[in-house]
Symmetry: C2
Subunit: 494 residues, 2 copies
């Protein structure tokens, strides 16, 4: 059947949707969510069907959203050929997962291929996420999912024997160790092609922070060139399309904030696998307000990382770090970037906790190479690389290679919160700090955020500054004042 296309001037995001009126759909025995093949000359597409009333579309019309219209290259007077299409094979496998069956590599490949080709609807992808969440994924399924994500995404190939990567589970404000570790490892001559994420619910991700210094939106060929030239990069993973399947699933995972463990692991490991990483350290911060709250949870996750890493042929080290307070003093893109640069420059006021943690992570990574007789000798190499200024020079090379930017200043609206009594810092409320920084405008307003002066155990005098809030925007600044700004620090008075 040939129908007259009508453009629906809206993009619906990585999916092809076509619309018929009730009568036309019934004449073809079609239901909402059915699939149809659309053809315009040589251009073909499989779209998912939606049905509307006769007053919105005529019987001889087919509504096409912008993506579908563009993909079919519709021109005036074109007619679109429409034909019923079968359900995708993936539906059967997704149903099997919901029933608790284990999926073979072939079936997982099929699902991931369909996701990347935009052949699955939101509903079908939701069923897949549900199945992975309610039934879990075995180590083998997770490995196959990891490989499928990379197979149907992009991959950066390097010839080096050692390719390094690191990952942090997240949930700790500040904590920009990547931006210290990558310069160190690449200064030492190792390849470290690092993709990072942007903040979703936090005040800054590594990609947001790196972006105040340099360009982080780069395609795969450009990244390959940068890594070959300066040894590595720190870029936004979402800009490379290395793990397309993963990006497609974010939308349907969002409403219930579902993180099926196997999917989470596959997503992390795919990012490592897609840059050919084979020496990987994974940082699991434990803390009362972190993503992983108990040691038991942490140990379970660790054992899964080790099992999956082994199956993927990676040397992998997983360890727990303290996630009960911010790492570094700045929270928010500009403030965090300033911390990082102070550490690299060996500035006298550099945050020592960020420096120490970065050295620790870099040491573990270096140790994985097996070239050092003891962790102490590895640590010495790392510390020298950092303190000699080599890592700083290397960071400048990376910034230059990616496309240097002028770093903005911290927000002009500033407000400091003082201690209401003297004593020792007993608790720092990470979630509240993150909320204050976000309310102030971070990460979108890059100069917004929080700068903390005191850490756990520090002595504080009444009236002494605990932290300063920075904002670029008066309205947001005023919103911060409505928050429980005096509850961030709990001070144990004498």
């Amino acid at each position: 059947m040939f129908l007259k296309p009508k453009r629906i001037p809206i993009r619906v995001g990585n999916k092809y949707i076509a619309i018929l009126n009730i009568k036309t759909a019934a004449s073809m025995d079609l239901h909402p969510e059915d699939r149809i093949h659309l053809k315009n000359g040589a251009k073909k597409i499989t779209a998912i069907l939606d049905i509307t009333e006769r007053k919105e579309l005529k019987d001889n019309q087919i509504g096409l959203y912008a993506e579908t219209w563009d993909k079919l290259g519709i021109k005036p007077k074109h007619k679109v050929h429409i034909e019923v299409a079968p359900k995708p094979e993936s539906d059967t496998y997704i149903k099997e997962k919901l029933q608790g069956k284990t999926l073979s590599r072939k079936k997982i490949d099929c699902i991931v291929k369909d996701i990347v080709a935009d052949d699955l609807s939101d509903i079908e992808m939701t069923y897949f996420v549900s199945g992975c969440y309610a039934r879990g994924l075995s180590d083998s399924e997770t490995v196959n999912l990891t490989k499928a994500i990379v197979k149907f995404g992009n991959k950066l190939h390097f010839n080096d024997k050692i390719i390094m990567d690191k990952h942090c589970i997240g949930g700790v404000p500040g904590n920009r160790t990547t931006m210290v570790v990558v310069p160190i490892m690449t200064a030492l001559g190792y390849r470290m092609p690092k993709t990072s994420s942007r903040a979703i619910t936090s005040p800054a991700g590594t990609a947001d922070t790196m972006e105040v210094l340099t360009n982080v939106i780069n395609d795969a060929p450009k990244l390959k060139k940068i890594a070959m030239k300066v040894g590595g990069f720190i870029t936004w993973g979402g800009g490379v399309d290395l793990a397309a399947a993963d990006d497609r699933l974010i939308r349907v995972r969002f409403p219930l904030k579902l993180d099926p463990e196997g999917m989470l692991l596959a997503s992390i490991m795919a990012k490592k696998f897609s840059v050919s990483a084979n020496h990987v350290v994974i940082d699991i911060p434990l803390g009362p307000e972190g993503k992983i709250q108990s040691k038991k949870q942490g140990k379970h996750l660790k054992s899964r990382f080790l099992a999956i890493g082994k199956k993927l042929g990676m040397k992998i080290k997983v360890f727990f770090t303290n996630g009960s307070q911010p790492i570094g003093n700045g929270i928010g893109p500009v403030l965090e970037a300033m911390d990082v640069m102070k550490v690299l420059k060996n500035a006298p006021d550099a945050p020592q906790d960020l420096k120490k943690k970065s050295i620790m992570l870099a040491t573990e990574l270096l140790n994985l190479t097996g070239k050092y007789s003891s962790p102490i000798s590895a640590e010495k190499v790392i510390t020298e690389c950092l303190e000699s200024g080599d890592a700083y020079k290397q960071m400048q090379r990376i910034i230059q290679a990616q496309g240097r930017k002028q770093m903005p200043k911290p927000g002009k609206h500033q407000m400091s919160v003082m201690a209401e009594k003297s004593g020792k810092v007993q608790v720092i409320n990470n979630k509240l700090i993150a909320n204050i920084a976000r309310t102030a405008g971070a990460p979108k307003d890059v100069g917004a955020g929080v700068y903390v002066y005191k850490k756990l155990g520090d002595k504080v005098k009444k009236g002494e500054k605990l932290y300063t809030v920075y904002s670029e925007n008066k309205v947001r600044f005023d919103d911060v004042k409505k928050l429980a700004i005096n509850d961030v620090y709990k001070i144990n008075g004498n």
Copy 2:
């Protein structure tokens, strides 16, 4: 924030969706699938957010699909107030179900209320269906789901002590016992307000078949009036909105054809509960190509029906019937209606299997009242009611009360299939018959379908007619010829 509404001239089906461009959404920190409150004067709505590119919507615009536009009563120059809305409470409970927790009555009420209010997106409803499917629903959860569906739908109240209903799990071509049983029970003075479904994948549902004789689209007040006047009705359940939640879930269950058992049971029982039924018989056909294929499956389902019926205060009888061949001779709306009328008129060529099965079901129903000393005395009453013509007269009253129609004739394109050898009928392929009837045009072309002359065990001579295909449409008629029309009957030759 106030935005200029732009109408997107498409209906998306029982959901409120609003669209912002990327920049406006980012300025409010909004993601796809977030919720926003929309206000136009006194009219308020909660919509789900979609995000499009800047070339499709301006920064000060908000795109509204037809349902949302109409609900907000937008007029020229109106501006829409927009505000971030919290996630619905239901999301938490749906996640709990996915985690395997048992949901309380309050939580199930909350989810069903949100579904009926169109407050849940397709993705959220899909997660709910997934949870029910992967984790199952206990008897208590199923009862609470049943009650919630009725609570947030419509209910027909009657003062009678006895209100009858029946249900068949389906999967058997023909089998229009409802249209015989309702006239009998109402002729005997019992109230029997029967809602039926239309075909989804079969050649005819009871509603499709009844519709060739009378109007089946009636609202609740009209149905109440009909039932008070003539004792009962046979109407299309989808036209009454008795189980609104159920109807909303169909769309998301469709792609994977998921029938979570607890949801299926609640859906069936809600239809009984919503017409106040308290005496119910349930027919589970068992057959190699039916919905329930093994006795074990059947027994499990039976025990669940009994447990749930008891908790709902219903007298309920569940039994297994033979689902291995069609019941009656006609398959397709007109052909099935002709069978029913022949049975009611005691015509000499009335299909005896349909008559016998209808009498059996009616007898079981009458027995549930506890007024008869033995099944035999109940059966006598039923048989007399049918054979005396009382049931026929009663059917005419029901048809008249609902709004009589002139029954169309069977399709003019006809083709008969003959036996290729002599012998006994050993197998009749139900699925293939249904496929032939649907290909011929049933249920949309009401005169289309199949008429079978032979049943299992019948003797057949080579060249004798086995069945006739009827079609109203030449193209469809020709499509039938491409099917395996000679494989419907398997004849055991001598």
